[in-house]
Every structure is written in structure tokens, then in C-alpha cells.
Amino acid sequence: MKNKFVHPYIPNSVPEVKAKMLEEIGVSSIEELYSDIPERLRFRDRMKLPEALPSELALKQHMHAILSRNKNVHEYDSFLGGGVANHFVPAICDEINGRSEFLTAYAGEPYEDHGRFQALFEYQSLMGELLDFEVVNVPTYDWAQAASTSIRMAQRITQKDEILVSELIGPDRRSAIENYCKKAMKITPVRHDRTSGLIDLDDLRSKLNDNTAGIYFENPSYVGVIEHRGEEISQFVHKAGGLSIVGVDPISLGILKPPAQYGADIACGDIQTLGNHLHYGGCLGGFIATRDEEKFVMEYPSRLFGITKTEMEGEWGFDDVAYNRTSFGVREKGKEFVGTANALYAITSAVYLSLMGPDGMSEIGRHLIQKSLYAKKKLEALAGTELKFSSASFKEFVVDFSNTGKRVKDINAALLNRKIFGGIDLSQSFPWMGNCALFCFTEMNTQAQIDRLVSTLEEILA
């Protein structure tokens, strides 16, 4: 016991301290404290783990060696999107989410943790302005979960069991929705026009019926197309007694109409684009927003923080809203759950929106459209390439390489050699599109980068 190594993270390993504590407990060894675990369940082997790196410097050296095997979007020119994208992260976003007080807090009361309650209420409120909705949740895991929950909410609200789902939503989301909803609901795909990329309204109408809980579509869609007939789509679905659920990239909403303004009942999406880093797709947060109607609020499984007063005149207080949310309906097949999700990223997005203000959001929206439009014109002009869809797009669009005689996979490999991350290869996730790639352009891509992409492609395709 005497010379045992004491790790910096474990203060009470100090033998003298251990001894004192054991004495208080009235046992002679820590082993005695495990007496309730029968011998047959004890693991008496030694776990095979690599040698410890208790020295902070040694750990740092080890980690840097591993991290240096990654290439990032600064070393390479990246044109990747598909749900997360390389947007600018203002310094204050990182400053705030790195604060110990927010970073290491969890679930304190609205007194000693007043700060996180207020910050998350402000997140809800700022998102509410962006989305033009009065109710926004504390975010769930990601857009996939937000969409899945929105669909189950629609089921409970309408008491109907069939959801129509656009075929141009993110493939990861499609898979997650399938797993989450399939037993309780019928999931029916809705076709998009192969040329315009817009929802095929005839197909939609033919699939509406008495059991339609709603439609879920994304706008812009996964492939970047702006659906401009949202109003009509919502009307059709409403007439059938269903809800209109729209998934949206929130960074588009300074310039594009929020779903609420074209008849959507529920909006959802991901907050990664609002001030959060990429983290290899590991930094997501799913928002859900609706009108402030009791029948909607009651079906949220999420935390909803409300603003109130305290005993002391002039103090703001915060509280959980609608405690007795009774999500039981005759046809509902189980209420949902809520747990630890992504509060820190929500706080970060609150900072982002506060910094950007109305002008900033409007300008970034315009910027993204200009950038991608420029790229669109340049790429379209390349020999052999075509734009897959004729409709207007936001920051992403699909380039069809079918006539170039080269596979996207090979084109991307060649781009990679020139330190360019080319567009997402869609041939696996959307086989019907053929040999297509989804390109994304953000404020992080300079004109020079885009020009280099175009000229490099020119060389590769030549």
C-alpha cells in the first residue's frame, strides 16, 4: 500500500487517506466493500488495455500523434455537406461553450444553475424568431431523432398512423425514422419529379388518405432543391387531416421563408450549422418547433423551459413547462423518452444567433446562395457535366457526371490527390440518380477555392 502510485485524477488513493476512510467505514480493506458480489461473478483476470499514460505530456504526445493522421477542412478544400457543413464558427461561440461553468454542469436546479436555464430559454426564443414559431424544444440528439419524434408527435396529435415521407430526405435520417417508427406506423414514400427535383404533387395527392398523420419533407431537400410549393403541399395534407412537418437547415432562414410561413405545423432540423464545429459528424442537435397550442405542446417528449417570476420582485425565474404532459392516446403505441442530449450545442447556437442578429442571418443566407450559384454556373459549364435538377437550390446542388465517362468515386479520388474533398457520391444512397455527386458551398469556400475545384475537375475530366 505504501508506495502505490497516485493518479492525479484520484486523490483518495493516498494510503493514509484510504486508511482513515476505511476506519470510518469499519472495514479493513476496500475488497470487503465488494462482499455482495459473489465470487463466481468476479472478474479475476486483468483487462488487456494498453499501458497507462498518466503523464499529461505523454498523453498529449500520444494524442497528437493520432490526430495528425487526420486531414481537416482547412488543409483540404472541402465541398462536403449532406447534413453538416463547414460554416464559420465565431470566436465567442468557442469561448462560451468552453466555459467550465457551462461545460461541466449538468442538471442543477433553476437556482444555482439559473444560467443554463436562461441560456437554453434564450436558445428556444432565438430559434423561435428564426423559425417563426412560439415553441422550440431543448434539442434532442440530432435531426434524425428530431424528425422521428416530430412524426410520432403527429401520430399522437392526429391519432392517425400513416406518414408520408419525401424520398429526397437524408439517407441516415430515412434509416433512423424507419427504425423508430415502423412498428407503430406505416411509412409511405413520396416521389419527387426527376427533372425539377420538386415533390410530385400528383403522387402526393394519390397517397393521401383518412389515415394520413402527415407528410415529412425537407426544404431545402437533402439534395439542395428549394421546394417552393410548400403552401400547396401543406394545404393538401391539412385537407386530408394530416400535419405538415418540414425539416430545414436553420442557416437558410435569414433569407428563405421558415416552414411556419408556408403552412408547416412542425419544423425540425439540426443546429450544427449555427456555430458548431464538424467533429466528424459528432456535434449535432435536433430541434423541434411548433405553434403554441396545448395539443402540440402536450406531445413534446422534450424538456421545454419556460420563463416565469420568482418571489423577489424583478427577478426572472425559469421552470419546466407543462409538467403533466400526458401523451397517452388510444392509438399511440408508447410515449417517448427524454434524457441527456445536446444542451451545450444549443447554448452555442444561442450565442451564434445573438451575434448574427437579423442582418447577419440575412446576409449569410444571401452569401450562401451567391456562392453556390457561382459554383453552379461554373460547374454547369464544364464539359460533360450537368445539373441534375433544374430547380433553384440553396447551398448544395447535385452535379451529374454520367456523361463524363468517369465514376464519381474515381473523380473524388483524383480530387483528393489535389487536396480537394469533392462532392458526396450519391450512387449508393440514391441509385436512381446514377452517377451523381452532391456539392456544398459555404462562406468558408473562397472564390479561389471554387475556381480551383472547377479547373481541377476540368483536368480530371479531360
Binding site: 483518495n12 494498453p50 426564443s125 440530432d142 424507419e178 412498428k183
Partner: protein
């Protein structure tokens, strides 16, 4: 007050920061800027015009969003002030949030996740450019095989509850693929297992059977035998349960369920005291998951991010959510989407990477001896607290009197409440006056007036003594001057919150715009007062 302070010499003369900070919208001043968006290059401007003429008019936003306009420093100051009005684990002795394993989150690990080689990597990059992150995922997979004894791990689950959803998805798919499986729709759990064990499984269509505890706080083998049948899909159970009591019959539980044709999922939310001591494999589990944000040191981020790494035995390895990470013979790592029976994707991309990277660094820092020491010291600390807290008047530890507990204890202030009217919620709020948290427990309260303490390995004996003194003082106050406790907090950011609006659809306000619509009168009145 002074004499009290002398008596409780470990307690701090604490007062939390109170900035009386406005709601962000109240800082709005038209024309101020927090940030300037860079303009597109002139040539792009020439070629695309304002860009918006391309957008169908029906999709153009008519009015800019009603966000506030605030200068940069003011935004910074606002959120810094809010942060000071929040009590992170880095500041307090955060042992009062039992079941959540609030431990030290090493600062060095923040450097790794804030390194652009980690933070600025896009998930759709070619795998050859992500080998560092993939290597960490792969090694983690290997570590968890050792820690649990199970065979294959998925990093898709975004939290503990989400891991349960993944387990339930696997359970459902597995039975669907087997002859007698379609009728297997009953999932058994226990009352002191995590509430999400029931709730998340129910979402997928399972019927939930909850075993209640016996006098010793544990569910009985007899009760389990009574309910298993050809309808049993599986068992999801925590062990030790949230009471900190280890169920010594756990392998009999799993055997009974296996005998009936079900599968067993181990919720290892309470693993901090048993790392290297006892494992899922020996207890007979087919699946298990660990919360990386708890046991493996991820900071809790004011309520996330989280991660729940999920492992299964060989029998179930093709059922995991995709992708899993594999290694080729040439030593390169890749994302493997090719699992025959996979439940598909349960999250976008590959997992909550920053949480996983921190956990990876933590395990590497500690090694085998370190992990075992984590468990042992967590148990030592817990039993030390148990010994001390049960000596406090009004506090008790229901069930299995005189026995040791693993890594946490669910205590009760029932006696305190009955004798003084001071309940657990009052104590929790009073604890804030000394710079502490104290949490009651999940709902519904099985233990009356509960509080759940989990000291982990992180806090020194002196700190534990300080926390105990806080509880002791409040107990003394409850018996002598209960009003002090019942009106607490006195030294926190705000005073007792008015709950009356929160259940009223006419009055609740989940956003500022809803507040303005519903309570504008109130606001105008106050503005007048302030100006006057």
C-alpha cells in the same frame, strides 16, 4: 449565524454570482452588430447579382427574423454572466447528482476535442483522411471488449437512453428473425433500473413488465419466474441498481430469461464502481452499454452531449446499428456498413465523436490499474459517505441496513420531513446556499423524500467532509429553524420560482415572443417602474 459558522468550519461563506442579467432580447439596440458576415468576392457578386432573384418568390422571407441586434462585447458579457450564474462541476463538490457520475473532466481532454484536427473534420471525407479518429474508435472498441467481455461495439447511441433504444431495436429485430419471435413483445425491467429502460423500449412497441423491489431493495427471482413466458422478449436491468445495491442473483436472472427464450441487456449506467471487478459477460448478458459522459469522464455540458457505447455478444454482432469500425490487414481503419441483420442507422454519421475522444484519452491516461483504482476509490468514497450521512439526524438509507453499497446510495429525508416539514426539495435548495448541488431522484419517488449521492473517485476526503457538513448543517437547521431551509435559497442567483404559470397554456411562455404576447402588460408596467 456567526456561531453557526464557527460550528461548521468547513462550510464556505458562499454567495453565487448574481448579475441580475437581462433576457437577451432586452439588450436589443437597433443598428448594433455582433458580427459582420464576409462578403462574396466582387466577381461572384457580378456573376450572381444579389443571388436572391434566383429564388422563387414564394420562398423568400419577407421580414428579417426578429433576432436582437447587439454589439459583440455585450453578447460576450451576457453569456459570460450567465455562465457565472451556473455552477459547473469544476467549481463545486458535485457528488449530489447520483446516477449521473459527475466526476473530474480532465482539462487536457478539452485540448484534444478543440484541436482542429479533431473538430474540423467532415464526416463524408475520404476514410484515408480520418484515420486518426477511426483509430481511436477502433481502439475504444477493443478497450470495451475488455471492460465488458462482450464482442462487438457500436458508437451510434447518443446517450444512455438512446443506447437503450438501440438495445430494444436489436431485441425486436432479433426476435423478428426467429421462428417464435413474433409473439415476443414483453420486456422485463426493475423499478430501480433507469426509467428509460422502460420508456425507450416502449417506443418500439414493447409491453413493459416492471419488477418491484422486495424488503431488501432488490427484485426477487421468484417474481421474475412468475412473469417469464413464451412472450418474453428480454430483460433490461441496471446493476447495481440506483440504490447502489448490487444484485447478487443477477446471473440467475439472466439464466431464467435465457431459458424462456429472451435476451438480456445490461444498462451499465452505474458501472463506475465495478470497472475491472465484475463484467457483463460473467453475469450472462447479451448486450450492455456504458455512458461515456458519466463513467468515462465526458463533461455533461449543461445537459449533453452524451454518448452510450453499446456492446453485444457474437450472436448479436450483425444486429448492431451501422457503421462499426474495423481494421484491415494493412493496418488501415474503415467504417463497416456491411452487417447482415443491422437495425440500420439510429443516428446521423458515426457517433458523438467529441465525447468518445475525451473518453479515449481518459482511459489511456489511467490504464488497467487506473481503471480498477477508479472503481475501488469510488466505492470507498461512497461507503465513507454512507457511514457519515446515516449519522445525520433525519437521514437514512432504506433497504439492506448495515450492508455496503457500490458506487452510490439512494438516501431518504423521510424522517426529517415527518419531524420538521423540511423535505428533500427544501434541502436541495438550501444546499445551493453553500455552493453545492443535491438531487432527489428520478420519478416516481419510490424512496420517500429521496436524495442520491454518488461521490465517484474524483473528490478528496476533505471535499467529501465539506459536503457532509452541508447536509449536517441543514439537518440541524431543519430541527432548529426550519424556515431558513424552507425559504432557501438565500445565497443563490434567484429566489424561489413561481411555478403557477408553468402548467397553464394561457400563461406558460416557452419563448420570448410567447412571453411578450401573453404577458406584455406585466412587462410594460415594469419598464415604467424602472424608468420612473
Amino acid at each position: 449565524m456567526e456561531s453557526l459558522n464557527k460550528k461548521y468550519k468547513r462550510l464556505r461563506n458562499f454567495h453565487q454570482a448574481k448579475w441580475d442579467e437581462e433576457i437577451i432580447f432586452q439588450l436589443h439596440n437597433p443598428g448594433e452588430k455582433g458580427l459582420i458576415v464576409n462578403r462574396v468576392e466582387t466577381q461572384i457578386e457580378h456573376m450572381t447579382g444579389d443571388g436572391i432573384s434566383e429564388i422563387p418568390e414564394s420562398m423568400l422571407r419577407e421580414q428579417k427574423p426578429g433576432l436582437p441586434e447587439i454589439g459583440q462585447m455585450r453578447v460576450l458579457k451576457h453569456f459570460l454572466r450567465l455562465s457565472q450564474q451556473n455552477l459547473g462541476a469544476d467549481f463545486n463538490i458535485d457528488v449530489g447528482q447520483g446516477t449521473c457520475t459527475i466526476k473530474y473532466n480532465p482539462k487536457i481532454n478539452e485540448c484534444f476535442v478543440r484541436d482542429p484536427r479533431e473538430s474540423d473534420v467532415h464526416p463524408m471525407q475520404d476514410e484515408s483522411t480520418c484515420q486518426g479518429t477511426l483509430q481511436m474508435l477502433y481502439e475504444m472498441h477493443e478497450f470495451f471488449k475488455e471492460i465488458s467481455g462482450l464482442d462487438r461495439f457500436s458508437f451510434q447511441p447518443s446517450s444512455g437512453s438512446h443506447a437503450i433504444l438501440n438495445m430494444a431495436s436489436i431485441l425486436r429485430k432479433y426476435h423478428e428473425d426467429h421462428v417464435d419471435g413474433h409473439q415476443r413483445d414483453e420486456l422485463i425491467t426493475t423499478i430501480f433500473s433507469h426509467p428509460s429502460d422502460a420508456a425507450a423500449a416502449k417506443v418500439l412497441g414493447f409491453k413493459i413488465i416492471t419488477l418491484h423491489q422486495e424488503e431488501n431493495g432488490l427484485p426477487s427471482v421468484e417474481a421474475l419466474k412468475r412473469v417469464v413466458s413464451e412472450r418474453t422478449a428480454g430483460l433490461f436491468i441496471t446493476n447495481p441498481e440506483d440504490t447502489g445495491i448490487y444484485n447478487p442473483d443477477i446471473d440467475e436472472f439472466t439464466a431464467i430469461v435465457h431459458e424462456a427464450g429472451g435476451l438480456c441487456g445490461y444498462d451499465q449506467a452505474n458501472a463506475n464502481g465495478i470497472l475491472g471487478i465484475t463484467r457483463a459477460k460473467e453475469a450472462g448478458f447479451d448486450m450492455c452499454f456504458f455512458n461515456l459522459h458519466k463513467t468515462f469522464s465526458g463533461p455533461h455540458g449543461s445537459g449533453g452531449p452524451a454518448a452510450g457505447v453499446l456492446g453485444v455478444t457474437k450472436k448479436l454482432q450483425d444486429y448492431l446499428a451501422v457503421p462499426v469500425v474495423d481494421k484491415r490487414e494493412d493496418g488501415t481503419y474503415f467504417l463497416n456498413f456491411d452487417l447482415a441483420h443491422s437495425i440500420g442507422k439510429t443516428r446521423q454519421f458515426y457517433g458523438p465523436i467529441p465525447v468518445i475522444v475525451r473518453a479515449y484519452a481518459w482511459i489511456r491516461s489511467l490504464g488497467v490499474e487506473g481503471l480498477e483504482e477508479v472503481a475501488r476509490i469510488a466505492v470507498l468514497n461512497n461507503n465513507y459517505l454512507l457511514s457519515k450521512i446515516t449519522k445525520i439526524r433525519g437521514a437514512s438509507s432504506p433497504y439492506s441496513a448495515g450492508k455496503h453499497r457500490i458506487e452510490q446510495v439512494r438516501y431518504s429525508w423521510d424522517r426529517l420531513y415527518k419531524e420538521t416539514g423540511v423535505g428533500t426539495h427544501d434541502v436541495a435548495l438550501r444546499m445551493a446556499d453553500f455552493g453545492f448541488h443535491m438531487w432527489s431522484s428520478h420519478h416516481p419517488f419510490i424512496v420517500p423524500e429521496p436524495f442520491t449521492i454518488e461521490p465517484t473517485e474524483s473528490y478528496s476526503k476533505e471535499e467529501l467532509d465539506e459536503y457532509i457538513e452541508g447536509l449536517q448543517r441543514i439537518s440541524d437547521e431543519a430541527y432548529a429553524t426550519p424556515e431558513i431551509v424552507k425559504r432557501a435559497p438565500h445565497h443563490s442567483v434567484v429566489h424561489r420560482v413561481d411555478h403557477s404559470v408553468s402548467d397553464d397554456p394561457e400563461k406558460w411562455a416557452i419563448t420570448w415572443r410567447a412571453y411578450l404576447r401573453k404577458h406584455r402588460d406585466r412587462l410594460v408596467e415594469e419598464d415604467v417602474q424602472i424608468e420612473g
